[in-house]
């Protein structure tokens, strides 16, 4: 699936679709989502106070494991572990995880890409072997919720959403949620999937 290969906005008054499409594009680019979303379809019926959005996400990035992006060296004499991080972008998250586990006083960063942990060597080794530094999928889930709330007309505060293996369904209204709307959104999702389903 190409990024944003399908981008459809349907409104009751066809001329208003373009304006809303521009809002969505701004929000997508602001949240740096354009490469994550494969297909998106939005249907708005202001007279029913209804906003529906279905999104097919492109296959996400795998979780980043500590072992894949760093090397560890042990200084047994001083009971220290030196971690050399090769992927610079992940250093902040790496530090966060280590601080969480070993406390700030035991984790130092003498150089930009070197982290020094003072603790029981085996514990550190075991921890790092299992450590997932960053999970892009999780951040995407959080940002997706943010995007949905930003995109919805304000005041539509009754919301339904579901995210299942990269398929996002979102319905919002200011009135009580109706099953028909959720069903309609699921039909939209099926249409969006097309031959891929």
């Amino acid at each position: 699936m190409e990024p944003l290969e399908i981008f459809t906005v349907e409104t009751t008054e066809p001329s208003e679709a373009a304006a809303y499409e521009s809002i969505l594009k701004d929000i997508i680019s602001e949240l740096a989502f354009s490469r994550t979303i494969g297909r998106i379809k939005v249907r708005i019926r202001p007279e029913d106070s209804l906003f529906m959005m279905v999104i097919l996400l492109r296959r996400g990035l795998p979780p980043i494991k500590a072992g894949e992006i760093s090397d560890t060296e042990f200084d047994r004499e001083h009971a220290k572990v030196f971690i050399t991080v090769r992927d610079e972008k992940t250093i902040p998250q790496f530090l966060d995880r280590l601080w969480e586990q070993f406390g700030r006083q035991n984790v130092m960063q003498p150089e930009r890409n070197i982290i020094e942990v003072a603790s029981d060597l085996e514990t550190v080794d075991k921890f790092i072997a299992e450590l997932i530094v960053d999970d892009p999928e999780k951040t995407i889930r959080e940002r997706l919720a943010d995007m949905a709330i930003r995109a919805t007309p304000e005041g539509f505060r009754i919301r339904y959403h579901s995210l299942d293996s990269g398929k996002f369904v979102f319905v919002a209204s200011e009135d009580t949620m109706q099953q028909d709307w959720i069903d309609e959104a699921n039909v939209m999702l099926k249409e969006l999937e097309g031959d891929d389903s």
Binding site: T11, T12, E13, S15, E16, A19, Y20, S22, I23, D26, I27, E30, I44, P46, E47, S49, R150, P153, E154, G155, F156, R157, E174, D175
Partner: protein, 310 residues
């Protein structure tokens, strides 16, 4: 007979700008607002019509720019349904900024519960606050159905002229309660700087200008007992504490009065006791009221017909 005053904005370097202020004082004009920003300064002025060329020459000499500012001396309320990111900073703040370029003083008012369709409503306090202004500009969204059928209930109780902005093209008559509708300024999530957006804002400034002119003409039929700009000068001279107020516009002019940004409890008597050369006090020719905005003082000047004996 009083000189006819024309509103202008000067934008230029701060160096030697005091020469303009001196000239303005000599000519009998008024400085409405001065906004220094680093090495630049913006002066909003009322200049006697027959002497404009003198100020123009001086501005040219100082390499500054003098432009007419038809909205000078007006206080405009830019009302958005809420203060949420759906309306702010774009487009409501862009609208306010553009109106300020026309010389207006703007206040952003975000309603507490103005969002949505069925649930949208305004509070009594909010209506009173909006009514303190000269014009209210309501900044709405993208959908025709909402603007025509649902949002006009926010206009209930608003007694000042109402300008509505929104995305679609709608005729003003279709929106009950609106005095003018300006399209092409709907909900956007980016700063408005495309050609079509700026054109729409120019139309907005023009339309607001028309409404302001109508109101001015209406006032001219039965003029105010004292000119707001003249009153402003008297406040600065007779209530010197106003010079210590740090807001950008300590005295905000309105078409029929002004907002003095001093606490009402402590200063309303001092403001009421301002003496004019003719011998009367301000409290004789104006209503001095507590403003709904913070604890400021709102001065509404009476018409000549109301104070005929002075």
């Amino acid at each position: 007979m009083a000189a006819v005053l024309e509103p202008y904005i000067y934008e230029g370097g701060i160096h030697k700008h005091s020469l303009i202020l001196e000239l303005l004082e000599d000519l009998g004009g008024y400085l409405v607002q001065k906004t220094p920003a680093s090495t630049e300064v913006t002066l909003v002025m009322l200049i006697p019509k027959k002497d404009i060329h003198l100020v123009e020459d001086l501005c040219k000499k100082l390499l500054g720019k003098l432009t007419p500012a038809p909205l000078t001396g007006t206080e405009v309320a830019v009302v958005s349904p809420t203060l949420a990111s759906h309306h702010l900073p774009h487009s409501a703040c862009d609208v306010a900024e553009y109106l300020r370029r026309g010389g207006a003083n703007t206040n952003m008012i975000g309603l507490a519960r103005g969002m949505g369709r069925r649930v949208a409503l305004s509070a009594d306090y909010e209506r009173k606050l909006i009514n303190e202004h000269d014009v209210a500009v309501f900044s709405f969204g993208t959908f025709k159905d909402c603007i025509i059928n649902k949002k006009p209930k926010l206009f209930e109780g608003i007694e000042i002229p109402i300008v509505v902005t929104g995305g679609p093209d709608i005729r003003t008559e279709e929106i009950s309660g609106a005095d003018i509708y300006v399209g092409g300024i709907g909900r956007v999530a980016h700063r408005m700087r495309k050609g079509s957006e700026l054109d729409a804002m120019d139309v907005l400034n023009e339309k607001v200008g028309e409404i302001v002119n109508l109101k001015r003409e209406n006032i001219a039929k039965d003029p105010l007992a004292v000119l707001p700009a003249r009153l402003m000068k008297e406040v600065q001279e007779q209530v010197p504490d106003i010079l210590n107020v740090l807001t950008p516009a300590p005295i905000t002019l309105q078409l029929d009065g002004m907002r003095v940004k001093l606490p009402y409890d402590r200063y309303h008597e001092a403001v009421g006791n301002i003496v004019f050369d003719e011998g009367f006090l301000l409290s004789d020719v104006a209503n001095i009221l507590p403003s709904k905005m913070k604890d400021y003082i709102l001065v509404k000047i009476k018409r000549r017909s109301e104070v005929a004996n002075i």
